[in-house]
């Protein structure tokens, strides 16, 4: 067999020139890949939130008896001991400031501008 005959043999192929079924299957696989790519970050976020929630729940169980001893005898605000209410307020404010991107140095600049 010559090189030319071999080339002729390779020039032909068994796959059809155009196969809509094949193209449809590729499109379906791409659709599934696209859906997976969109869902992955969402699933990751949910997993992180769940893990943090479990951690916070466990930590609360450990901390609760210690805090209960510390706040015994303190005045209460709507049934919540005052140090706990103040602590929660401080944490909430800190998160609020971070969420709005207002850093302490930015706050100083803002106050200077107001003055």
């Amino acid at each position: 067999m010559s090189d030319l005959q071999l080339s002729d043999l390779f020039a032909k192929g068994t796959a059809p020139e155009s196969d809509p079924a094949f193209a449809g299957q590729v499109a379906a696989r791409i659709g599934r890949a696209r859906l997976g790519a969109r869902l992955r970050p969402l699933v990751l976020r949910i997993a992180v939130v769940l893990m943090l929630s479990v951690g916070a729940f466990t930590a609360a169980g450990v901390v609760r008896p210690v805090v209960a001893q510390l706040v015994e005898g303190w005045p209460q605000l709507m049934g919540v001991p005052l140090p706990v209410a103040l602590g929660a307020l401080a944490v909430g404010l800190a998160f609020g400031v971070r969420a709005h991107g207002l850093r302490p140095d930015a706050r100083v600049g803002l106050l200077e501008q107001i003055e």
């Binding site: 067999m1 080339s7 032909k12 192929g13 059809p16 155009s18 791409i30």
Partner: protein, 192 residues
């Protein structure tokens, strides 16, 4: 009635030059990528059918190749390089499959003649020789090098780049594989 913009784009893509279609697909245009699948499905499927020897597996791999291409086409720098890049994606998919399966290859040339032919491919009917079955008698690396050299017209250096095989090994595989393939084909055609 005016044609819809999608149908209009579809019509324009049918006749558009390859580089234009690739450039659209690189920008995330799904219609353009579908057009690339339509245009490139035959060469990719033919390449993988020759490498696999199993049409169902080859077509499954070809679909995976197009999904990989869809994922990676945004990172392509030159639209003109799409054909070569797609070929490398196909070779890489085949190499992964071959390593995963690590199927034993029957190197006995005589076995090809002795074994019954369950489903002769159209190529056998047309040319008298079933190239895919003959190629299946070569070892995986040998077959890969022979197919890329003769079927895809790649140089030894290009094959070495695509397969990550040493250049000397590629040359040896192409030479020995080609001789072996010629012997197998000559015996088949001589018998008929």
């Amino acid at each position: 009635m005016t044609p819809s913009p999608t149908r209009d784009l579809r019509g324009r893509l049918d006749d558009a030059p390859k580089e234009t279609v690739v450039a659209f697909a690189m920008g995330g245009d799904d219609d353009a990528f579908a057009e690339l699948v339509r245009r490139r499905q035959k060469p990719v499927r033919d390449l993988l059918r020759r490498l696999c020897g199993d049409h169902a597996l080859a077509d499954d791999l070809a679909q995976k190749v197009f999904v990989r291409a869809w994922r990676g086409i945004g990172g392509l720098r030159d639209p003109g390089a799409f054909g070569g890049w797609l070929k490398r994606v196909a070779v890489s998919a085949w190499l992964s499959e071959a390593r995963r399966a690590a199927a034993p290859i029957d190197d006995d040339e005589g076995a090809l003649l002795a074994a019954p032919d369950p489903a002769p491919s159209p190529q056998r009917v047309a040319g008298g020789i079933d190239l895919e079955r003959a190629l299946a008698r070569l070892g995986p690396d040998e077959r890969l090098c022979v197919v890329l050299a003769h079927g895809e017209g790649m140089t030894h250096a290009e094959i070495a780049g695509a397969t990550r095989l040493p250049l000397g090994t590629v040359k040896s595989h192409v030479l020995r594989g080609t001789e072996k393939l010629k012997r197998i084909c000559a015996r088949v055609s001589g018998d008929e």
